[in-house]
Symmetry: C2
Amino acid sequence: MNQNKTAKAVDFDKIMDTVRVFAPATVANMICGFDILGFAVDYPGDEVLMHRVTAPGVRIRSITGDEGRLPLDADKNTVSACVKMLLEHLGISREIGVEIELIKHMPIGSGLGSSSASTVAGLFAINSLLGNPLTKEELLPFCVEGERLACGHGHADNVAPALMGGITLIRGHHPLDVIKLPVPEELYAGIVFPKVDVPTRDARQLIKEKVLLKDAVTQWGNIAGLIAGLYESDYGLISRSMHDVLIEPTRAILIPEFYVMKQIALNAGALSFGISGSGPSVVAVSRGKEIAENAANLIQQHLTDCEIDSLKYVSPVNIDGPKIL
Amino acid sequence: MNQNKTAKAVDFDKIMDTVRVFAPATVANMICGFDILGFAVDYPGDEVLMHRVTAPGVRIRSITGDEGRLPLDADKNTVSACVKMLLEHLGISREIGVEIELIKHMPIGSGLGSSSASTVAGLFAINSLLGNPLTKEELLPFCVEGERLACGHGHADNVAPALMGGITLIRGHHPLDVIKLPVPEELYAGIVFPKVDVPTRDARQLIKEKVLLKDAVTQWGNIAGLIAGLYESDYGLISRSMHDVLIEPTRAILIPEFYVMKQIALNAGALSFGISGSGPSVVAVSRGKEIAENAANLIQQHLTDCEIDSLKYVSPVNIDGPKIL
């Protein structure tokens, strides 16, 4: 039977009873690299606590930190749906039962890859529980499918860095071709999430289908410069390269005080400032923790002055991706 | 006087009597990097023999290898015009006299940076003759200006690799920001120039002003992949990345047998195949000399079968740019 054949990789005697996994938030696009670049951060992120149970099937035991926004129905919840999909792929969905506790430590719809962090945590957890039958590279397509379920499009720019850690380049989607890029040691992100609602779908729909070739050339010159800057640990080049002339002008409209925040970040010495994913979170990419911290504090102070609530995260680039706690 | 002040760098006692310089041909765009990437080759290229003479001013003594197509009038010839511009910049145009012999070893209008090779040879020659008052970086804007005089647009994608050598990235034009990229050791170019006329101006005018964002994303994913591939010496990644979905489909129309030549090159094991600059020269970028040689031979054979005359050049990536002979 095909099911048994594929299940060979899983040693049933070695399946763990329980595993707790943290998967990181991510900054998709990395300011200039729309749909191809992204990086993970150490904090925030989501946690999945997974228990093996006797009754086969995948169930959600609890979700916390989501303000009741995520479905507990295992067929509708992205995390459980992905876990189920993986068990089916391994041909052991009728033999294995798991229950999931999802602990969200980050806001939903923030532009920080909230759904990706949960999906990656869930898939990394089931893979760990089963004794790692799949490599990270093999897990990635399942994560992308999870992103499609959650957001309606199967982009990998959040799940790739969340799963692989570090800075990832998605050279192409068909077939998926993900390259890990070097991470300059002093690179920090000062992230601020202004508590306004910018659904990913809307943020994508605003973007024009056609762009001027000359602007595209500017954009890919910057993308190429950023890649070279990362390999050279050349912070000056990184700073000169991290400009988005194509997407930011449109998406910035949805983010209150965007250009004021940008000026604040650059005045504070940030290498660059821009939108994280589709927003509304913004990121001050900085050399060293102090500048990132300072930029984020000043931005948050300005939002407070404007009576806009916000959350703040300061983190180096996360290197390893998900981890077992 | 301002003239004397700027001229300080030139030691009149140390000016050479004569200098002979070779500057390399270049493959602009490097297939996927329209207007931002380019590399130099060891062969072909152009030569400038420059003589110091008593009478101030810049004159063309002779031009060979151009089939009489280039102007001997020093004001109209790009090489002499650039040399004059540099002497004026240094404030010594009234003190110094030079005569130029331009020996062209490559066809004009071939898409191999013919005008750039001449301009770079001329400017490198005068700078050498004067004892190198300018660095290569400082010479570059004069080369770009020469390109503007020759082609009507001041792109640096030929002059930058011709002057700097190796593979160059033009991150931005305003201000000019050129980065030298690493050159994987085994990278070879098998170049074939089909003797058909494709003026640069026409080739540029064919290109659409607007492109689909999704195609631009594909293109910059490939550009980013190529840069990473060069840093990693990852020939597989280089090969997967060197695809041009935006410019090639339009420009290929002007090049006879383009898609047949492409198939021949890829069948011969080339990493990639595409148009050099605005064509009509084509390039099979290959790992190792043998594949490049073989691809170029087979392509040339096919063109002969189609009764199209051609020239063939096989070369590694040139590392150092212009050299004194």
